[in-house]
Symmetry: C2
Amino acid sequence: MPSLVHHPLDPASRLIRLMCAEYGVPLDLEEIKPWLRDEALLAINPAATLPILFTDNEQSIVGLMATMHAVEDLYAPDTVGGLFPTDPMQRAEMWRLVEWALIKLNDEVTRYLIEEKIAKRDLRGATPEPSVLRAAKANFVEHMLYFNWLLASRSWVGGDDMTLADFALAAHFSTLDYMGDIDWAKVPAETRDWYSRIKSRPAFRTLLNDRVVAMPPSKGYADLDF
Amino acid sequence: MPSLVHHPLDPASRLIRLMCAEYGVPLDLEEIKPWLRDEALLAINPAATLPILFTDNEQSIVGLMATMHAVEDLYAPDTVGGLFPTDPMQRAEMWRLVEWALIKLNDEVTRYLIEEKIAKRDLRGATPEPSVLRAAKANFVEHMLYFNWLLASRSWVGGDDMTLADFALAAHFSTLDYMGDIDWAKVPAETRDWYSRIKSRPAFRTLLNDRVVAMPPSKGYADLDF
């Protein structure tokens, strides 16, 4: 069985877990805290990022871009049924939105909240800096306006069909939701409906069972009717 | 002829220009300053990032991930001769290092230097903040140690053959070199030799002719014997 070195709240690891679950590939999960930068991690990945996938023949595939492509190449059942559209323009739209979730949303929202709420406490028992939390949450409101604008005219973020872009965005949403950073009462109906559809997929179950020590998930995190 | 909306010192745009030049695809270049966030740019790309590729049939391909894949899909002469290795493990190593250059190096070095030296001046006539420049340059020294460690045992950053990872890293190096942020006297021989080989490729010529208004390139920027 392939194994994945991950952290339960790392959105990049979540994306790979979602892809593997969607493709019916069971994973042996090994949890690690990348911010501790321990030597075993640095020896495999000097960038100290996650995830790291070990294939059945023990070869390591390091980092999000490498694992994302490897999972698609190794495990996608067939091109038609996979998460990467075959039409070139739909594929370009998918990559545009994958980049939005994995780089822009991460950069402006998710990574600050993980750093403040989880890594800082773990590293030095520090409490989150309120001004950073406020800025990240204000940024998230702006992102939400854009996703909602997209979802007002599309079934899925990239168009008519679910793609990797939905999983990339849902990986970030699920981390934010776990930490209690999504106020669902204020989320517009289209975005709420989209997340509800993604959350109901069998592939999502593995994420909903995640628990981080001393940090229980927000109320409603695992509910399909949230 | 396809056209590319770019900025001469944007490393993501440089990577796409290198790929197209390597594949023999002439590009109609349209220069833009993404930090001005003008409405025409936001209408095509609300993330206000570059590059944007317009194909021959006027369809827009937005952002680095989308353009990188589209150029490979549309223009790579054949899989053997392209910038993406066919061997799965070499491909994984390529993506690991592409991610290093485009995300980690960008995040810790290049984007700060562009912001401080170019965008800030352009937006409000401000001078760079010395502490930010110092931090970015100190980070670059750490990156350089790693690249040099790699290049001590490899001909190219990803292994025996040149790949997209070399172009991604060279795109960042060339932007840093233009701005005078690489002190070549202190760069170890392996890395210097690698950059010299990349710089001598015909694909690189287009970058070496770049000039930014009121900001001439560093001495040696366009010299093959630097």
